[in-house]
Amino acid sequence: MNKLTIGWLYPELMNIYGDRGNIITLSKRAKWRDIIVEVKELNPGFSDQTLKECDLLVMGGAQDKQQSIVNEDLRKHHETLSEMIDAGIPGLYVCGGFQFLGNYYKEADGTIIDGLGIFDLYTENPGHGHERLIGNIAIQPNIDELTNLIVGFENHGGRTYLGEDIDPLGKVLKGHGNNDGNTEGAKYKNSFGTYLHGPILPKNPQFADYLIKLALELEELKEIDDTLEIEARKNVEKKLIL
C-alpha cells in the first residue's frame, strides 16, 4: 500500500485564508484511494531530517507579523528545501509561501526582505494608493494534464514579476493574478506557487490529484465522484461570467 507524507510548512503561523483546506483535500483524496497519509506539521524549530522525509510540501499565507518569524526560521532550511525542489519534490506554495520562494519582497516602505531565491521572481508592494488585488479569479492552467480551469479567490497587496527561468502556473481569464491580469503564479519543476486561496484544491480536484500523483510517482489514481467539486467550480465560473 502506498504512503503519502505531506510536509505542512508552518501550520501554526501560515494558516490564514482557509489554506488548511488544501491539506484536508490532499489527505482525504489520498485516503479515499486507500493511500496511507501522514501530515508532518513543520513549525519553527523542525529538523531538516523531518523535511527530507516528506513527499509533498504545502505552505500557505500568513499575517505580516507571523511572516517575519517564518522568514527567519525558513532560512535555516534554505539548502535542504532548495535541493528537494530541484530534485522534483512537488509542492504547493500559496500567497506568502509563494513570495518567500522568490528572490526578494519589497515592502511598501521600500524595505527589501530577501527571499530564498528558489523561484526566479520578485514581489513588490506598491504601497498606499494602490489597492490590494482582491476577488474571485479563474485561470487556464499551464499544465497539460489539467483540462479544467482553476478557480479561487485572491487577496494580496504584493505584485509578483516572473524572471526568465520560470513559467507561470497559468493564464488569467478573470482577475488580477501576479500583477497585470496576465499571468498567475509560477511553475518550477514540480513546485507550484500561486495567489489562489479559496482554498485552491477543494474546487480543483484535478490539481489536487496531480500533486498526489507527482508525489507518489503514480500514473493513475482510482476515480472518485467529483460531482460536488465540479458544481462548486462551475458556480465560481458562472459568477465570473465565463
Binding site: 501550520p11 501554526e12 494558516n15 490564514i16 485564508y17 482557509g18 489554506d19 488548511r20 483546506g21 484536508i24 483535500t25 482525504k28 499575517q63 505580516d64 507579523k65 507571523q66 517575519s68 518569524i69 482582491i134 476577488g135 474571485n136 479567490f153 487577496n155 486561496h197 479559496g198 482554498p199 477543494p202 474546487k203 460536488l228 467539486e229 458544481e231 462548486a232 458556480n235
Partner: protein
C-alpha cells in the same frame, strides 16, 4: 445654526424614507450633516450630558449592545441606540440626528453605539466616548477588513490618544484586546472568564484558526495556561512576561444566553453596569427577561416547528455556534452560506472551521445559499453526509418536513443569508 438645519433636514429625511418605505434612511442624514459641519458629532455630543458608550469587536457586539440597553432600561435610564448597519461615522451622526430635539439637545442618559471595527479609529477622531467596550478580535471577512493584526494596530494607536475621561472595558482573555489597556491614559477595567466556569472548554493548545497566538508586545509565541476558545484564555508571554491581566469581573450568577462567547458579552455588560452604579441585581433582572437580537440565538417557529437561528459569520463565531448546538444536543442543522458584500466575497474561511472536531457525524445536515456547493464540499471533506440544496426555501422546507414536533432545527447562516432565511420564516423583511 447649521447643526439645527442638519437635524431638521435629517429628521425630515428619516421620516419620509420610513413613511414611503425607501429602504434604509439610516446613514444619509449623517453623511450630509458631516458635510455641512465636520464637527457636527463633537458639537452635538459636547453640548449634552449624554454618555457615549461604544461597543466594538469582531463577535458579540450586537448582542452586547442589546444587553447594555436592557440593563440601562432596567435601571430606569434613557438611551439612544444606532440602527443595524449604521455603524460607521455617518451612522453615529445619523443616530444623533434621529435622537436630538430640534434645538439640538439629546436629553438621553446614554448613547449606545455599536461600531464597525475599521470605523472605530475614525469615530475616536470625532469624539471622546465615556466608555469603550472591546470584546475580541478574530479573523473575519479578510477581503473587507484585512487581517487581525492590521485592525489591532489601528486600534492601538487610536487608544493612545484617549484621556481619563474614557473608561475602557476590555476582555482580559484576548491578548490583543488586553494589551490595549497597557498604553493608554484612559481608565481600564477588565472582564474575563475563570477556569472553573469553563468545564468542558478547557485546553492548553490553541486549535486551528486561533489568530492572536503571539505576544502583542514582543511577538514571542504565547503560552496558554487555559484556553476557553480560539485564542481566548489565560495567557502569558514566556519572553517579555506580559500576561493576562486579572479580570475585575469574571463571574455572575446567571447568563442570558448559552455559549462561552455569550458569557463574555454578559460580563462586559455587567462590568459596564457596575461602573455606572447599575447594580448586579438590576443586571440580573434584565438578563432574566432578555430576548436576543435578530438572528443571534433567536427562537422562531415555522410551519408549527421550532427553529433557532445562530448567526455564524466567521470561523470563531461558527465554531462557537456549533459548540452551543452541541450543548443543546441539536440533531438537525441547516447551514446557509452567501458571498454578498456584507458577508465578504471570500468564503475560504469555512475551511478554518472545526466541524469534524465538534459535531457527531450522525447529525442531519443540509446546506444552502449562494455558496451551497462550497459549504457542501467543506462537509464532504469533513466526512459528513450532507444534503446540498441551493434554494434556501426548499432547503428549509425539506428540513422542516422531516422534523419531529419536539425537535428544533438549528440554522447557521452568515449575515445576508440570515436576513434571507429570517424573511422566509417570518414572512417579513427587517432590513
Amino acid at each position: 445654526m447649521v447643526n439645527k438645519i442638519s437635524i431638521l433636514g435629517g429628521k425630515t429625511f428619516i421620516f419620509l424614507s420610513s413613511k414611503f418605505n425607501l429602504g434604509s434612511g439610516s446613514t444619509w442624514p449623517g453623511h450630509i450633516a458631516l458635510k455641512l459641519n465636520p464637527n457636527f458629532i463633537k458639537e452635538t455630543l459636547g453640548s449634552s450630558k449624554t454618555k457615549l458608550v461604544i461597543v466594538a469587536g469582531t463577535n458579540g457586539k450586537t448582542t452586547t449592545a442589546r444587553l447594555i440597553t436592557s440593563i440601562v432600561r432596567e435601571a430606569n435610564k434613557t438611551y439612544l441606540q444606532n440602527k443595524a448597519g449604521a455603524n460607521l461615522v455617518n451612522g453615529l451622526a445619523s443616530t444623533l440626528i434621529s435622537g436630538a430635539t430640534l434645538s439640538g439637545n439629546l436629553n438621553k442618559d446614554y448613547l449606545i453605539f455599536e461600531a464597525d471595527e475599521n470605523a472605530l479609529p475614525r469615530i475616536l477622531e470625532q469624539t471622546t466616548p465615556d466608555y469603550i467596550v472591546l470584546l475580541d478580535l478574530f479573523r473575519d471577512q479578510l477581503d473587507r477588513y484585512g487581517e487581525v493584526d492590521t485592525i489591532a494596530r489601528k486600534w492601538h494607536s487610536a487608544m493612545q490618544n484617549l484621556n481619563n475621561k474614557t473608561c475602557l472595558i476590555l476582555n482580559s482573555d484576548d491578548p490583543q484586546i488586553a494589551y490595549l489597556g497597557t498604553k493608554t491614559q484612559a481608565k481600564v477595567a477588565y472582564f474575563g472568564l475563570e477556569k472553573i466556569q469553563s468545564a468542558g472548554y478547557e485546553q492548553t493548545k490553541t486549535k486551528h484558526g486561533a489568530d492572536s497566538t503571539h505576544c502583542p508586545k514582543c511577538n514571542e509565541k504565547l503560552k496558554f495556561l487555559t484556553i476557553f476558545f480560539s485564542h481566548l484564555g489565560i495567557w502569558e508571554c514566556p519572553k517579555c512576561k506580559l500576561k493576562r491581566p486579572n479580570p475585575d469581573l469574571s463571574n455572575i450568577p446567571s447568563y442570558p444566553l448559552v455559549g462561552a462567547y455569550n458569557k463574555y458579552n454578559a460580563l462586559a455588560t455587567t462590568l459596564f453596569g457596575l461602573k455606572e452604579n447599575i447594580t448586579l441585581k438590576d443586571s440580573q433582572n434584565a438578563f432574566a427577561s432578555f430576548t436576543p437580537a435578530f438572528g443571534r440565538q433567536e427562537k422562531l417557529t415555522y410551519k408549527d416547528k421550532n427553529v433557532q437561528i445562530f448567526l455564524s459569520k466567521n470561523p470563531t463565531s461558527f465554531n462557537e455556534s456549533l459548540e452551543a448546538i452541541k450543548e443543546l444536543k441539536g440533531e438537525n442543522l441547516l447551514i446557509l452560506l452567501n458571498d454578498r458584500i456584507p458577508d465578504g466575497l471570500d468564503v475560504s474561511w469555512i475551511w478554518d472551521i472545526n466541524i469534524e472536531e465538534i459535531l457527531d457525524k450522525k447529525i442531519n445536515v443540509a446546506v444552502t445559499g449562494d455558496r451551497a456547493y462550497d459549504m457542501g464540499l467543506r462537509l464532504k471533506y469533513a466526512e459528513f453526509f450532507t444534503h446540498v440544496i441551493p434554494d434556501p426555501e426548499q432547503a428549509l422546507d425539506e428540513m422542516i418536513n422531516k422534523l419531529e414536533d419536539n425537535e428544533t432545527l438549528y440554522i447557521l447562516p452568515n449575515y445576508s443569508a440570515m436576513l434571507d432565511i429570517r424573511k422566509i420564516i417570518t414572512g417579513r423583511k427587517i432590513l
